[in-house]
Symmetry: C2
Subunit: 127 residues, 2 copies
DNA sequence: TTGACAATACGAAGACCTTCGTATATCGTC
DNA sequence: GACGATATACGAAGGTCTTCGTATTGTCAA
């Protein structure tokens, strides 16, 4: 199975809607997107058709209004994107990326606590 | 001052060389890049000219072989890229991004320790 | 069965990205 | 001053991304 291409910006916007909503029609996706930025219905349709060709989504054509579903779960795509950025801009250094992530946004205390737990778990495994 | 555009893949490759080497000529950048993937000299030249137009780099034309310099330090661009990814794929959740970063790569123990220190520092500030 | 509506299919335009070939300018040296 | 070597400038091709208008198909109801 060929690897999926890195989603473009517009494709990622659509994937986000599909991850949140689950299987959706073009109309449902379009309505969500149009809320933020007005766009033509056929733009969303075309994007979903292209994404189907690329394998980023699959579609169920059993009904008149096709249902689109993401091919990969959100976590997997996020991991792909982070790994990609790691290679392109961080020479593979995860710690540097984490450093920038936390300096890019003021993270909430709960988030910091979550990360700390994650570290505990990871260091436990290494032993 | 207008914000700089997000660097493309090819542009980022060049920026990485400039960050590592400091001010460099086209030839110097090209030689570094050609080591990994063969390419025409004029391709690198053209990219640097475009990057100059965009403001990603500046150049010193006082010598025959122009010297190119990054406009932003590496850290700032990294912060921009991470913040961008945070918005596009993580709904702004830094902790989720960190989670994916660490699951994307087996991080070395030293790196985990670094991150832990960073957390200590951040939580210290919040108090 | 036809008309109105809602959906998909298709093509194309315009912007950007990436690459490269060719033309032109500049420097040192014989 | 002419030649070779080394620079930069420029234009264009080919690909991808994004958007949209128009054509076509399918469905339901009067």
């Amino acid at each position: 199975m060929a690897d999926l291409p890195r989603p473009t910006d517009a494709e990622l916007s659509i994937l986000r809607v599909l991850w949140r909503r689950g299987p959706s029609t073009v109309k449902e996706v379009h309505d969500e997107l149009a809320r933020r930025a007005p766009a033509a219905y056929t733009t969303t349709l075309k994007q979903l058709q292209i994404m189907t060709e690329k394998g980023l989504v699959t579609r169920d054509e059993s009904q008149r209004a096709h249902l689109y579903v993401t091919r990969l779960p959100e976590e997997q795509t996020q991991t792909q994107l982070v790994g990609d950025l790691l290679d392109r801009a961080f020479e593979g250094s995860a710690s540097r990326l984490v450093l920038r992530a936390l300096s890019s946004r003021p993270a909430k205390p709960e988030e910091l606590a979550e990360i700390r737990e994650l570290l505990d778990r990871l260091e436990g495994e290494t032993k």
